[in-house]
């Protein structure tokens, strides 16, 4: 490591005052900035981008430009790798295109564009500024795909380049699209920046070379906040014991420390919970495989468990041993008539990881839009494009699977044992979804963060591989966690008062997957993390590195911005007095779910019963009807449970089920559409009502204070002036993200619309009225 800036004394993750400042202007008088096109708000007439200003011309306003010195902010441990000047960042706004000159740099943490801050940041932008990632910063891990434009043709860039593009297009994993025009950049700088960016974002990396470690090393002396303030980390035996206690699972389940130091296996966390009768030898027998691992207990004592599959054995005697083992182990959770268990094999008859991968790669393309024409071209076929990606259908299937499992736990009083090869992908997804729906604690910020710690981070979800952070295998890259967040978003969207967090919280959480200063999403297992931060390794002389947790939101956002993460609609659990708490604890647990009103209504009211009855009687005859009925029994139980719940008013502090019908599963607009200017509704969307609500909350608060003030000091009354109620400006429907503010009030107009109606053509040609209009 070369002349890296020494760790600043401040060492915090915010930009410390002692950060090295690098001037924007460098090299032979070539200027780094200037605004091209659309100056003064006039719109460019042509939709395609043409820059009419040559670099020479820019010299003329050199003086003015140098006054505003643009600085590159580096984090502790961050190093500048390469840079290029006179890069033109194209900005698409309304239908005209503009550009901003600036410097494009690549560090070992991010790609950054340092342009002229021509317009003062808008109010809402500053309000939700990320302290780590600037508006024009792309962390290396956030880069999805890099394209080069050669003679108007867009090509994917990878490896060694023979020819360098005139334009660089970067698609990000958070769905931003950047266009950098390199036409006015010096040739050698183009080479350096393009190959630098390609190399640092695409070449396989070693874990030890993650920025995470340079950052943590540089910021070693900084006082890190206690992660336990933000979530239960589940890295101690105590944490698990408390979780058992909280869910009243401690009668039947026990926390074990058999894997302390990862003696049994590296897949499992050091501490976890198993059925009480299970012996420690059993856990060791197959290195923790084939063992039911406890996730959560329902108020009725039924538990949600997960289990990784036993290795496939060819040998008969071995497989006999396995079978005996499994049968014995299974009896720890399945002991009829006392308790029964249902096994849910997620690797065979549910989703496959390939399906998820395929779906998402199609789905995200719908939002990585280069220009307005592309937006409107895809608009006509929008619904079928959405459907053909199957992403929404996959969301529906995940939600449905969770509801099925809940029905088993709640209505049938069964333990549910989730089975998957490694129990670290779909198990995490389904189990945490079920918990979000059943356990209101998981719908608080603290509870949700603890849930992610428990099921995903400690559950050994391979974040490093699934996010492809090391660029080692594209095949392993599957957005399982993002799928989970999208499923949770559906719930948040359908039942806003049930969650303490907002959709903005989910969106920034999804963005945080790619910020390598937090350790949370950068390891495949707790074992891997411990090995690499020096907790377990013998040779490290110094004390272990202190890695940041993503759950400390103050690292990324100022307090004001953090308020956008909590939901003003949240219906809090009625706070209990401390004295009462102990006594009512059990009662509160009972409230976790709705009272079990198993209204076994008469069969004639069953789902589809009318149709099937009819069909059966008329077509199939009695024998087959029996078959059909028995196979439908399960489906019926599910339907009844689902319909029963939805026919009652939702109780936000109890069981929460999603709507699964076609029109109810929606696109998470805030995450996916946020960077597309055409999709913005200025002054509209749910944001408009929400900001009115917030204004009203403020007003009520002010009144409340006034009343209180009057009680305390009556003299102050005369002095106070009636402060006018704050009225917010018009926000974009994609607030707080909308990067590009549309300054004009011009409407966005579809550029392509009409198409033939196919089968309706003959109708379309008809006259409205069948009356001749007179002489022809």
């Amino acid at each position: 490591m070369g002349g890296a800036p020494a760790a600043s004394a401040g060492g915090r993750c915010e930009r410390p005052p002692l950060l090295p400042r690098v001037a924007a202007t460098q090299g032979g008088g070539m200027l780094g900035k200037g605004v091209v096109g659309g100056g003064g708000g006039t719109k460019a007439p042509k939709p395609s981008f043409v820059s009419y200003v040559r670099p020479e011309e820019i010299h003329t306003n050199e003086k003015e430009a140098t006054e505003k010195e643009v600085t590159l902010h580096l984090l502790p441990g961050e190093q500048l790798l390469c840079e290029a000047n006179t890069v033109l960042k194209c900005v698409q706004e309304d239908s005209c295109q503009r550009g901003i000159y600036g410097r494009l740099v690549c560090t070992d943490f991010k790609i950054a564009f340092l342009g002229d801050d021509e317009s003062a940041l808008d109010n809402d932008e500053t309000q939700f500024k990320n302290k780590v990632i600037g508006e024009n910063d792309i962390t290396l891990h956030c880069v999805d795909q890099i394209y080069g434009v050669f003679d108007e043709k867009k090509k994917t860039l990878f490896g060694q380049l023979k020819k360098y593009p005139e334009k660089l297009v970067i698609h990000c994993k958070d769905l931003r699209v950047f266009h950098f025009c390199l036409r006015y950049t010096k040739e050698e700088e183009v080479k350096r920046i393009v190959s630098g960016i390609i190399h640092h974002t695409q070449a396989p990396k070693l874990l030890k070379r993650l920025f995470l470690f340079s950052y943590a090393t540089a910021a070693r002396n900084s006082p890190a906040t206690d992660p336990k303030k933000h979530a239960v980390m589940f890295d101690t035996l105590q944490d698990w014991c408390r979780e058992l206690e909280r869910t009243k699972g401690n009668m039947k389940y026990k926390a074990v420390s058999v894997n302390e130091g990862y003696k049994v296996c590296e897949r499992l966390p050091a501490y976890f919970v198993v059925p009480a009768p299970l012996l420690e030898e059993d856990i060791e027998f197959f290195q923790g495989r084939g063992i039911p691992i406890w996730c959560w207990s329902c108020h009725n004592g039924c538990a949600l468990l997960k289990m990784s599959a036993l290795p496939k054995e060819q040998d008969d005697s071995m497989s006999q041993i396995q079978k005996n083992f499994s049968d014995r182990i299974y009896r720890t959770v399945h002991r009829p008539p006392y308790e029964t268990a249902k096994t849910e094999d997620l690797s065979s008859n549910f989703l496959s990881l390939q399906e998820i991968q395929m779906a998402y790669s199609k789905f995200k393309q719908l939002f990585l839009i280069d220009n307005s024409t592309e937006f409107w071209d895809t608009d006509i076929k929008w619904f079928s494009l959405l459907e053909s990606s199957s992403w929404l259908d996959i969301i529906r299937r995940c939600l449905k699977k969770a509801v099925e499992i809940i029905e088993c736990l709640e209505a049938q009083n069964m333990n549910v044992l989730l089975l998957e090869d490694n129990a670290s992908d779909l198990c995490c997804l389904v189990s945490s979804l079920a918990q979000v729906m059943m356990d209101p604690h998981c719908r608080t910020v603290f509870g949700f963060q603890s849930l992610v710690q428990k099921e995903w981070v400690m559950g050994g979800h391979c974040f490093l591989d699934r996010c492809n952070h090391l660029r080692q295998s594209d095949k392993e890259e599957v957005p399982v966690f993002l799928l989970f967040l999208d499923c949770v978003w559906q719930l948040v969207h359908q039942h806003p008062p049930a969650f303490e967090f907002t959709e903005t919280y989910l969106t920034v959480l999804s963005d945080s997957l790619y910020i390598p200063i937090f350790s949370t999403f950068f390891f495949n297992s707790p074992h891997q993390k411990d090995m690499n931060v020096g907790k377990e390794s013998q040779d490290s002389q110094s004390r272990p590195l202190n890695l940041l947790t993503v759950w400390d939101w103050s690292v990324q956002f100022e307090p004001k911005a953090q308020t956008l993460l909590t939901n003003p609609l949240y219906v809090e659990k009625p706070k209990l007095e401390k004295v009462q708490r102990k006594g009512t604890h059990f009662k509160h647990q009972r409230q976790l779910s709705l009272p079990l009103t198993q209204s076994k209504s008469s069969p004639k009211r069953g789902f589809f019963r009318e149709e099937t009855d009819h069909l059966i009687k008329n077509l199939l005859g009695k024998r087959i009807s029996k078959l059909i009925n028995s196979s439908e029994e399960l489906q019926d139980g599910f339907r009844e449970f689902y319909d029963g719940w939805h026919s009652r008013p939702p109780s936000y502090q109890g069981l929460l089920l999603p709507h699964l019908e076609g029109p109810e599963i929606k696109v998470w607009a805030q995450r996916y559409l946020r960077w597309i200017p055409e999709a913005q509704i200025l002054g509209g969307g749910g944001v408009a009502t929400m900001s009115k609500l917030l204004e009203m909350i403020e007003e009520v608060q002010r009144l409340q204070e006034k009343i209180e003030a009057r009680h305390h000091s009556q003299e102050a009354l005369q002095a106070e002036a009636a402060s006018p109620p704050r009225t917010s400006g018009r926000l974009s429907s994609l607030f707080p993200f909308a990067l590009l503010q549309r300054h004009s009030s011009k409407p966005v107009l579809p550029t392509s619309g009409w198409k033939a109606l196919g089968d309706e053509d003959d109708l379309a040609k008809r006259e409205d009225e069948f009356v001749d209009l007179g002489d022809v």
């Binding site: 608009d379 006509i380 929008w382 619904f383 929404l392 359908q494 806003p496 809090e572 009272p595 009103t597 209204s599 004639k604 019963r609 009318e610 009687k617 319909d643 029963g644 939805h646 939702p650 709507h659 699964l660 076609g662 029109p663 559409l673 055409e678 999709a679 509704i681 002054g683 509209g684 969307g685 009502t689 929400m690 009115k692 609500l693 009203m696 909350i697 009520v700 009144l703 409340q704 009343i707 209180e708 009057r710 009680h711 009556q714 009354l717 009030s745 409407p747 966005v748 579809p750 009409w754 109606l757 309706e760 109708l763 379309a764 040609k765 409205d768 009225e769 209009l773 002489d775 022809v776």
Partner: protein, 603 residues
């Protein structure tokens, strides 16, 4: 064991105070209880039937038929089902099953409704009960075929507000600043002699004489000459509506028409072109020449630019809505919801209508050009475009009364053929004249209100109520095809206006988030990314797909509003107490925390 879910069935009935009251307070469990009746409503018959609910299976009930409605109450103890259907909503009644029908509940009636649902009743085969019910229903659902009056003429409801006074054309034009130097109000159509489908009062260019108007009328389909709909308060550009010119195959010209459009152009000197929007697809406009119609070609109308807006005709819209019904009723297409929705083309049509209206509004507002809008006859697509553009441009129309005026003006007075398009009281369910053009307009308004939830004074219920009474025939508002017919039937004297119902109970229809913003032009985003199927209207019969009512943001907001009002009251009281007890500050009123009701908002 809790009892079976109950209240979910009856919440979909049409808005009706009397019904709401009886079904909510639980008294209706008594079998002998009276059915809700409007003044003037007469009970005809009742029958025991089995209602074949597509969502919950067969339910035994008693059906009551009056001259206004069909009312069904469940006779089963575990169901509180109530159906309340105005007969006007019925488009078709069919008998199902015959004398040889074997299956259970296979003999009865199948009733198709205009509001996207079907009602099926099973009846006993013996005793002619089906024949009776069929005949009575046919008679009262289709009174026109039986020389009976439409119920609106029998309705004796009294409201404390008279909805017929809401719209006064002179007042509305005065609000717009008319007449002025360039535009005059003319009574040339007082007796509907110039154009029988236009209103009596028209606004035309000051420089066009009555004789000019008569000549222009000969060159416009059904004499629907270009007249002013709206004038921009600042730049004085106008929206003018009309029907197509009668160009025909031979490419006929009419000097007066050409000059007339030029006169319209000259009222605005900011740009030297007049913009004409032909709502039709280009090919249809060309095809219309064959029947004598056509469009303004630029080699004849030199100072005009013509654009086609590609909106399809009434037949396409009707078929599209049929397809919507197919995918939502009774069961919602699940796994292929999105592609089925796309295949109905419904939202695509909505998109085109909105796009057209945005273009009109933008041309007037920022293009500073006057605009002429027409389609073929200028009473379907034209009404959609002008009224939506006016809604975007003029915040007045976004208030409850403003919207009523907009509907009354652009739709009712300018001769949207409600009678033909809806088929009030008419048994010919397959009539090719029927088409959901007005519904489509309301859907567009809903899309706008969804995109701009603070811009409209009215709520979703207001729009649904309008649509429900579009069919119900309880009010005279949507009866007949044009003003002249309405005048002949003395509709305003003999019937009640829908706006009487709404305006006497306005709070129910108010959007609490409404923020009045004068001069704000509202451009919705006409992209499929934002357009949605109006679930609360099209899928409201399905108990599984029910949106949260009221929506949680609204509910919380109302709570806060109440709290704010209480605090303000409290402050006032304190102020009073203060000034009274200035001498004795120790006697303070009770602590504030006691006064604060619990709110689910953490501060």
């Amino acid at each position: 064991m809790a009892s079976a879910p109950t209240s979910k069935y009856n919440s979909h009935s049409l808005e009706n105070e009397s019904i709401k009251r009886t079904s909510r307070d639980g008294v209706n469990r008594d079998v002998g209880e009276t059915l809700p009746r409007l003044p003037g409503e007469i009970r005809i018959t009742d029958k025991e039937v089995i209602y074949i609910c597509p969502f919950n299976g067969p339910i035994k009930g008693r059906v009551y038929i009056t001259n206004y409605r069909l009312y069904l109450r469940s006779l089963e103890t575990d169901s509180a089902l109530i159906l309340d259907v105005p007969l006007g909503v019925i488009s078709r009644i069919e008998k199902m099953g015959g004398a040889t029908s074997r299956g259970e509940n296979s003999y009865g009636l199948d009733i198709t409704c205009k509001d996207l649902r079907n009602l099926r009743f099973a009846l006993k085969q013996e005793g002619h009960s089906r024949r009776d019910m069929f005949e009575i229903l046919t008679r009262y659902a289709f009174p026109l075929a039986h020389s009976l009056p439409i119920f609106a003429f029998l309705n004796e409801e009294k409201f404390n507000v008279d909805g017929w006074t809401v719209y006064n054309p002179v007042e509305e034009y005065r609000r717009q600043g008319l007449p002025n130097h360039h535009w005059r109000i003319t009574f040339i159509n007082k007796c509907y002699k110039l154009c029988d489908t236009y209103p009596a009062l028209l606004v035309v260019p000051y420089r066009a004489s009555d004789e000019d108007l008569r000549r222009v009328a000969t060159f416009r389909s059904r004499n629907r000459i270009p007249v002013l709909s709206w004038i921009h308060p600042e730049n004085k550009t106008v929206i003018v509506r009309c029907s197509q010119p009668l160009v025909g195959m031979s490419g006929k010209r009419n000097k007066e028409d050409e000059r007339y459009l030029d006169v319209i152009r000259e009222t605005n000197r900011q740009v030297n072109k007049l913009t004409i929007y032909d709502a039709r697809p280009n090919v249809n406009a060309v095809a219309n020449k064959a029947t004598g119609g056509g469009y303004e070609s630029d080699d004849v109308y030199h100072n005009a630019e013509l654009f086609f807006l590609d909106i399809h005709n009434i037949h396409v819209m009707r078929e599209s809505l049929k397809k919507v019904k197919d995918i939502v009723y009774p069961n919602v297409e699940e796994s292929h919801w999105l592609s089925s929705l796309e295949s109905t083309h419904w939202l695509e049509h909505i998109k085109l209508v909105l796009t057209g209206a945005i273009q009109v509004a933008d041309r007037v507002s920022s293009g500073k050009s006057s605009v002429v809008v027409h389609c073929s006859d200028g009473w379907d697509r034209t009404a959609q475009l002008t009224s939506l553009a006016m809604l975007m441009l003029d915040s007045f129309y976004r208030s409850i009364e403003g919207f009523e005026i907009l509907v009354q003006k652009e739709w009712i007075s300018f001769g949207h053929k409600f009678a033909s398009r809806i088929g009030h009281g008419d048994k010919n369910h397959a009539d090719a004249d029927r088409s959901p053009i007005f519904l489509q307009f309301i859907d567009c308004v809903w899309q706008m209100s969804k995109q701009f939830p603070t811009a409209f004074e009215f709520n979703e219920r207001f729009l649904i109520t309008i649509l429900d009474h579009l069919y119900s025939c309880r009010f005279g508002t949507f009866l007949y095809n044009c003003e002249s017919a309405r005048e002949k039937q003395k509709v305003t004297e003999r019937t009640v206006s829908l706006w009487s119902l709404i305006n006497s109970n306005k709070d129910k229809f108010k959007n609490p988030f409404y923020t009045k913003e004068i001069n704000r032009v509202l451009y919705p985003v006409a992209s499929m990314r934002h357009l949605e199927l109006w679930v609360n209207y099209y899928i409201r019969w399905n108990p599984r797909i029910k949106q949260q009512q009221p929506n949680p943001v609204e509910q919380r907001y109302m709570e806060l509003l109440a709290l704010r009002d209480e605090y303000i009251k409290r402050l006032d009281e304190l102020q009073l107490a203060n000034s009274a007890k200035l001498s004795d500050p120790s006697a303070s009123p009770s602590s504030p925390s006691q006064m604060m009701p619990h709110v689910q908002t953490h501060f």
